[in-house]
Amino acid sequence: MKHITKVAFVVLALGASACTNAGRFDNAGGGAGAGAVVPGSVSDPTSPAYFQQTIGDRILFEVDQATLNDAARDVLAQQATWLMANGAFTAIIEGHADEQGTREYNLALGARRASAVQNYLIERGVAASRLRTVSYGKERPIEICSDEACYSLNRRSVTVISAAGLTS
């Protein structure tokens, strides 16, 4: 019995770590000694990897909502600070919805979420010309779901940092 429990625990732990790391940059600085800054790695505060992993590139939304809660505003404030300190980068804000909706309504909902994030970043001082939004509706889930705990992870915006300029 003990043995079985242990096996189950290991599987769960693996599953959780796979989720946490999904879509993250490789941690290129993982092997570096404490205090060493590897340019471009997560240990480099001017790198997109730092933005993505240390600040956090995504925020989550309630069902059918594009409202920013306190936790979201806190992350976005740090995103804005980073963007203003690292002026060479631009960002595309992706808006996503969970699969509990129809395709076209969810495209519109994703756009509403991305726009809410964009507006907040502009409010915090980021130049509008450095930001663009794109909605993926329910087309790009990061989790495959059948319950609310999972759906909530797909109702998200992701701020994708790019060194390239924004073009339409």
Binding site: R103, L107, A108, S115, V134, I144
Partner: protein
């Protein structure tokens, strides 16, 4: 079969009333007829013996055509095929008198006989007759259709459409096609491409490759063009595709972040669609060429999923102005909209029936998805399906059948196309190759 050949077929097909039948004047007191009502009906038993091969080259085709005709009719749920193993007599000569007693003995009510010949130049000629066994007479005149041998399935569908029409009094839907999205890969890394097939899943062809995400194709009412949403530029945008040469171009919409949810006007000259600017989605219409853009809604809520009434005078759409997605009807030039959905749950993807009397929609309620229909004033709502995820309905050309997307749950879940009768009966999966979503049904060809 090349796309070009499919498209030129329409001009090659000819209907010719069979000559030499004048002596067989039908003596039908009460014509064979299925009255399609909302009530449960007993499927009408019919027999389709192999068609008669008029020459050696037609042998295989004479069997295949009869099989397609039988599958079309049986697939409606309104007819039931009597297997050939039950036959007492069969048809050995297309012109010989029918042995009514032998067909009546096995309870066949309709008999379809046919003759097939293939000329040296590849021209296929199919003649057929429909008999009402109980009245002992022919139902309508015999007909002859001609086309290329490659078009044999279309000719078979036309035979089935004619039989269906004579018995039900409605036009058929078998000689039609469906444009849809073919899907591969898991849910969190899905690849999509536009595809087209016959309504029954045959003759599958791809119209785009999987390199770009594509969504929600919509057939033109003339059957020659498709509007769809593509991420080709990195951002969702409406494209127009010509089926004949698979040429495509972005629709010149007014500027915005995202254009999507397009549908043609009934005359095929205009498009109604959603445009998102600064996070807000509203409905616009304009000429397919890009001229005369007109904003039809102006609200901070989401307005999407517009669909014209068949007379072009009204538009049904989805809006969450009340707090959740509901269905509204407005004039084709915008203006005040009337909410028509009133039940619990969320309503999306309304599509006006080609008959004009019903609106089909996707409803989400209590954790389930449904395809349903209501009258155009919102009354008499009926849910036809229920599952983990049903959405995106499209009407058969005669307004009798609805095709939609059903997606199954979980990591191994995938999308498939299903059909259901507007009575809610005869739910079945459309046979095709691979996972599929977002069907749009063509007009009758």
């Amino acid at each position: 079969m090349s796309l070009h050949k499919i498209l030129t077929l329409g001009r090659m097909l000819t209907f010719v009333a069979l000559s030499g039948l004048a002596g067989l004047a039908p003596a039908i007191a009460e014509p064979l007829r299925i009255e399609i009502t909302e009530g449960v009906i007993e499927p009408l038993p019919f027999a389709v013996p192999d068609f008669q091969a008029q020459n050696a080259a037609a042998t295989e085709m004479s069997r295949n055509i009869a099989r397609v005709v039988a599958a079309d009719l049986a697939g409606t749920g309104l007819f039931r095929e009597i297997p050939s193993t039950a036959f007492i007599s069969t048809i050995t000569n297309f012109s010989s008198p029918v042995q009514y007693a032998d067909w009546r003995a096995i309870n066949a009510q309709a008999l379809i006989s046919g003759a097939v010949s293939v000329a040296e130049d590849g021209k296929l000629t199919v003649g057929f007759r429909v008999f009402d066994i109980f009245s002992q007479g022919q139902l309508g005149e015999g007909l002859q259709l001609a086309g290329s041998t490659e078009s044999w399935r279309r000719i078979a569908h036309k035979v089935a459409d004619a039989v269906y029409s004579r018995i039900t009094g409605e036009s058929g839907y078998f000689d039609s096609r469906v444009v849809f999205v073919n899907e591969t890969g898991p849910k969190n890394a899905r690849l999509k491409r536009l595809a087209i097939m016959d309504y029954d899943g045959a003759n599958l062809q791809f119209l785009t490759d999987s390199s770009t995400l594509v969504l929600s194709p919509r057939f033109s009412p003339t059957g020659d063009r498709v509007l769809y949403t593509s991420y080709e530029t990195g951002f969702p945008q409406i494209f127009l595709l010509q089926i004949a040469n698979v040429g495509r171009a972005a629709l010149p919409t007014p500027s915005g972040n995202m254009s999507f949810a397009p549908r043609f006007s009934p005359d095929g000259n205009q498009v109604v669609f959603s445009l998102e600017q600064g996070g807000n989605t509203d409905i616009y219409r304009m000429d397919v060429s890009g001229g005369n853009p007109q904003r039809l809604t102006s609200a901070p809520s989401i307005e999407t999923g517009p669909s014209f009434s068949p007379d072009g005078s009204q538009i049904v759409f989805t809006s969450d102005r009340s707090g959740s997605p509901q269905l509204y009807v407005m004039g084709a030039n915008g203006g005040e909209a009337q909410r028509i959905s009133s039940g619990p749950g969320r309503y999306n993807t309304p599509v006006w029936s080609p008959r004009g009397d019903l609106i089909v929609f996707t409803k989400q309620n209590a954790g389930r998805f449904h395809i349903g229909v209501m009258r155009t004033d919102g009354s008499e709502e009926r849910l036809l399906t229920a599952s983990f995820l049903d959405e995106g309905p499209t009407w058969s050309p005669n307004g009798r059948v609805i095709m939609f997307t059903r997606e199954s749950q979980g990591a191994a879940g995938s999308s498939a196309l299903y059909m259901v009768d507007i009575t809610g009966r005869n739910l079945r999966r459309v046979t095709n190759q691979g996972a599929a979503s977002d069907p749009s049904w063509s007009p009758l060809q």
